[in-house]
């Protein structure tokens, strides 16, 4: 039940973000589905392994690789598909906690939380790098097939 609620809300949230970024109307549902897939991967992996960094990495790779393939298929810029899906993975909640601790003069926990935010942002970055590599490998394989 909780997973179902997560799927529904992540679909709506990513679709709504598509509206805020003004993506073309016909791609809104695809944006929402990409966001749902990414968020479910994150949610289930985080639940299973208790490791938010790994979960973020996996979800980012999923979103970025899928959007690259969709972009090639529909001949539109990648950014249209990927950007709304990445948004839920941004560690907004942790950043908020870190800042709240700063305001309450609890610098020790604030620094620890801020370090974690940095790690999560870094894992999003690394996920994007990985997906770029994966896409180039896919492209090379397809290229070789055509040549043979």
């Amino acid at each position: 039940m909780a997973v179902l609620a997560q799927a529904l809300t992540s679909f709506l949230a990513t679709g709504a973000f598509g509206i805020l970024f003004n993506v073309p109307k016909e791609t809104l549902v695809k944006c929402g589905l990409i966001g749902t897939g990414g968020w479910l991967i994150y949610y289930l992996l985080e639940d299973y392994s208790n490791n938010a960094i790994l979960a973020t990495l996996a979800a980012t790779v999923f979103i970025a690789v899928l959007s690259q393939q969709l972009a090639k298929f529909y001949k539109t810029p990648v950014i249209i598909f990927s950007v709304a899906g990445i948004i839920p993975l941004v560690p907004g909640g942790l950043a908020y906690d870190a800042m709240r601790n700063f305001v309450e003069n609890d610098y020790n926990s604030a620094i620890a939380l801020a370090a974690k935010v940095l790690m999560l942002a870094g894992s999003i970055a690394f996920g994007l790098v990985f997906s770029e590599v994966i896409n180039q490998i896919i492209r090379k394989i397809n290229h070789n097939k055509v040549r043979i």
Binding site: F21, I87, L128
Partner: protein, 253 residues
């Protein structure tokens, strides 16, 4: 000898207009450079150089005559991915050869003047829906759904209005997150909302610089160090403004 010179300038105008629309609408730097080079190549200028940063484009075309260079300044940036994809499809049509130079200029000017955004009411509704949903995604309770929707919608509304009033992006972000903090605090005080933290996190997500962050990383990966770092700095400042706005409310608790 008069004619080819004029032609080069016209081609450069088309390239720069396409680049300008893309950059203003939130396209990645490498895509802007790539598009401009492809358009120029399709019209017969093989050797071009472009230097794109978030605040300006330098574009030069080499040929038999002395190299020509133009610079345009980008002052206003927003997120409008539909325009990026429209320019992208125009550039595809140019490279496949079914659009002439004059037609391309006409199309691009039309796109530039067009306002293709969703109606403002729809945007605010989307922002409030996103806030409510994010609150659930961060494991808030369903009874906080409506308060999160209202404070998120008010935050977005005030962000747009403040931005029209004072065109300093960081200040309007600061004020918007202050409004969000205030509304959430009031809801909790009145007993309508339960968890202050969850409501604030959900509502603030609509202001989070997610697009800037991903673009900054993509630019850095593609080797556009200057644009990547400057977009990263913009994202950092935005995050800081949001944090400061919330912090003002929290420090009164």
């Amino acid at each position: 000898m008069e004619k080819p010179v004029e032609r080069t300038y016209e081609i450069m105008e088309v390239c720069l207009l396409a680049g300008k629309i893309m950059l203003q609408s939130g396209g990645e730097t490498y895509r802007v450079e790539d598009t401009m080079m492809r358009i120029a190549a399709a019209f017969g200028i093989e050797r071009t150089h472009s230097y794109v940063t978030p605040t300006g484009i330098i574009f030069s075309a080499e040929g038999t005559e002395p190299t020509k260079t133009k610079l345009i300044r980008i002052s206003e940036r927003s997120t409008d991915l539909k325009k990026v994809s429209m320019v992208n499809s125009i550039s595809r049509r140019i490279t496949s050869g079914d659009v002439t130079l004059e037609e391309a200029m006409e199309y691009l000017q039309e796109i530039d003047s067009l306002d293709v955004t969703f109606p403002f009411r729809v945007q605010v509704a989307a922002a409030s829906l996103a806030s409510g949903c994010f609150m659930i995604m961060f494991e808030g309770g369903w009874n906080d759904f409506i308060p999160a929707m209202i404070s998120g919608g008010m935050g977005y509304l005030s962000f747009v209005y403040f931005h029209r009033f004072i065109p300093i992006k960081f200040f309007s972000e600061f004020l918007a997150s202050f409004v969000i903090g205030l509304f959430s605090f009031l809801f909790v005080k009145m007993g309508v909302g339960q968890q202050l933290d969850k409501i604030i996190i959900g509502s603030v997500m609509t202001l989070v610089p997610g697009l800037l962050l991903t673009n900054a990383i993509r630019d850095l990966m593609a080797g556009h160090l200057v644009s990547g770092l400057s977009k990263g700095a913009e994202a950092f400042l935005t995050a800081f403004a949001i944090g400061a706005g919330i912090a003002v409310v929290l420090s009164f608790l």
